[in-house]
């Protein structure tokens, strides 16, 4: 189990991540981290990978504080938790052929004995849908999708239990994206993987994650089972985000909830609720008091002072029943 507890990350004086707590259970399990630019989602990934110092809080793997690990214990952590970035180019050494790049991971972490390297590289390539001939190629000889498969194969080489997937398909063409998403879904079952999936794309998160957390200016403002969160978003920002997603099918389109203004400068976040200057439901309390993330019903949490009042159907039905859920956004839509 990987836990992020009350995480604070400060760059200069900007609180990029401000008190975020997330729990990733054992796999197969996906937790989606959703947010727009500047929300802090990639900073969380880098903190979990121990690539940046924390200003507060902790990252725990099976109860052990990751930032206190040294030597062998740290190496074990690096094996247990691997990251896949949006841009495979930045993770693959352009001068290194695919085979040696994967072999290096096997060697550093002593995954198998040296005479098994060649065989294991072939197995890993096959697992991600690449031919064994790929191992003699340089990254630039591969397509974007193939490069991302290589990045996944190299992450899997050390047999991690947990992956951090940071926008893994955002730079890919849509047909390629669909194949990579299928690959991740397959691997997750086969290898019992748990992952944080960082994405700006709600549909991608829905496909691959049981649970999702929505970030706004470094804080989690809503969290819950993905289906529930997307069909009945309770926070005004999540509702706006959800309604902004373009749909191919006209029948799926929702009344657009437009949020005025732009995301404030994270160096000077507004007092009280950070969304208050853009929120159509703002009342005096929102400008004075920061809403805490609290349970709305069952596993669905929201950081909004007016959550119960704004989501009466959701609360009274305990979040169950498609009809009740289906009504909620429309009822609220008339308030906007």
């Amino acid at each position: 189990m990987l836990e992020v507890r009350a995480l604070h990350v400060v760059f200069e004086s900007v609180h990029a991540v401000d008190g975020v707590s997330l729990t990733l259970p054992a796999g197969p399990f996906g937790l989606g981290i959703v947010g727009e630019s500047g929300s802090g989602k990639t900073t969380i990934a880098r903190a979990v990978m121990r690539l940046i110092p924390l200003a507060g809080g902790s990252v725990l793997l099976d109860g052990h504080d990751v930032f206190r690990l040294r030597g062998g214990a740290l190496r074990a952590y690096r094996r247990a938790v691997q990251i896949v970035f949006q841009d495979a180019d930045s993770t693959l050494d352009p001068r290194m052929r695919v085979g040696p790049a994967i072999r290096e991971a096997l060697r550093v972490h002593r995954v198998v004995s040296r005479d098994e390297f060649g065989h294991r590289v072939d197995e890993l390539l096959e697992e991600v849908g690449l031919e064994s001939a790929t191992s003699s190629r340089f990254p630039h000889e591969l397509s974007g999708g193939q490069r991302q498969r290589v990045a996944i194969a190299r992450a899997l080489a050390v047999e991690p239990r947990t992956l951090i997937l940071d926008e893994p398909t955002s730079a890919l063409d849509v047909t390629v994206q669909a194949r990579i998403l299928r690959l991740i879904a397959e691997l997750r079952e086969k290898r019992q993987l748990a992952y944080f999936l960082i994405s700006h794309n709600l549909a991608v998160v829905q496909q691959l994650c049981e649970e999702a957390a929505v970030l706004y200016l470094g804080q989690v403002i809503e969290q819950g089972p993905t289906g529930q969160l997307l069909s009945s978003p309770a926070h005004p920002y999540t509702r706006a985000l959800r309604s902004a997603v373009p749909e191919i099918d006209i029948a799926d389109r929702r009344a657009r909830v437009v949020v005025p203004g732009i995301v404030p400068d994270p160096a000077h976040p507004p007092a009280g609720c950070r969304f208050n200057p853009r929120c159509p439901f703002v009342v005096q309390r929102c400008r004075e008091e920061t809403p805490l993330l609290r349970r709305l019903w069952a596993e669905h949490s929201v950081a909004c002072h007016r959550a119960e009042e704004l989501n009466p159907v959701l609360v009274s039905h305990g979040g169950r029943g498609q009809d009740a859920l289906g009504q909620t956004p429309d009822n609220l839509g008339s308030i906007f």
Partner: protein
């Protein structure tokens, strides 16, 4: 205004990257060129503004704006059309502005180049900024002082100020956050209604195409594989590639994740 493309080919040496039999764009119409990377959609737009040849491509065929042939037109005449009657906006608006000039200076330069006086230029710039719902004060800023969404609005405002008739929009929302994307799409719709601007909307995102465009031409390997009313093509695609493209788009449904 009518833009007519006939038998357009764009080639690099012997490699043909665009091969379009026929495509039209009418008054106040929004037509999508949809496809994946390398499909030739951006190169088609560059050919329309006469910039494909500056990238070393050979352009042949016919592109007519209200009956006037653009292919083979001298660059001096093309310059008057480009930025005048036809404008182009890009995925990354900040980088399409010269970083050393204030936004107002960029507007003035472009408007004066197309015959406006200094005072006229100032008034038209301010009016265009209000038209995209930006404070005219932003004209005093430098490009890097704008957010991505603001910069894209400014690029659109410039097209409005130039009274352009055809806007070529190359992935104008792909680099923007989804809520900002929604605002820009809304703005493009208004542009068509109020300014009667015709828009050639280049995108890899079929969901955005579905929300914005009247017609869609799906491109693959330089060719248009399917063209028709956007709602029809996306509901009942006849080409197998279009079908695959549509099936690949991750869809939000009310059903919970597995």
């Amino acid at each position: 205004m009518t833009l007519e493309i006939r038998n357009l080919t764009v080639s690099f040496d012997s490699r043909r990257v665009v091969d379009i039999d026929s495509l039209e764009l009418g008054d106040a119409e929004i037509v999508a060129l949809a496809g994946e990377s390398g499909s030739g959609k951006s190169m088609t737009a560059l050919a329309v503004v006469g910039l494909a040849s500056t990238k070393g491509a050979t352009v042949a065929g016919s592109i007519k704006l209200d009956g006037t042939e653009l292919i083979g037109m001298p660059q001096s005449e093309l310059r008057a059309i480009r930025g005048g009657r036809i404008s182009m906006i890009f995925q990354s608006p900040v980088s399409s502005f010269d970083p050393v000039f204030r936004i107002g200076t960029i507007f003035r330069g472009a408007l004066q180049l197309h015959g406006a006086s200094r005072a006229e230029a100032r008034d038209r710039a301010a009016e265009a900024m209000r038209g995209v719902m930006l404070a005219p004060e932003l004209l005093d800023r430098y490009p890097h002082q704008l957010s991505g969404g603001q910069a894209q609005r400014v690029a659109i405002a410039l097209a409005i100020a130039l009274r352009c008739e055809v806007l070529l929009a190359d992935e104008p929302t792909s680099a923007l956050d989804v809520t900002v994307q929604g605002e820009i799409l809304e703005l493009l719709r208004r542009l068509r209604e109020q300014e009667r601007m015709a828009i050639l909307f280049i995108s890899h995102d079929l969901a955005v195409v579905a929300e914005l465009c009247d017609r869609v031409a799906v491109m693959r390997m330089g060719r248009i594989v399917e063209v028709g009313p956007a709602a029809e093509v996306l509901r009942a695609p006849s080409d197998p590639y279009t079908r695959e493209l549509i099936a690949s788009v991750p869809k939000l449904t009310s059903a919970a994740a597995g």
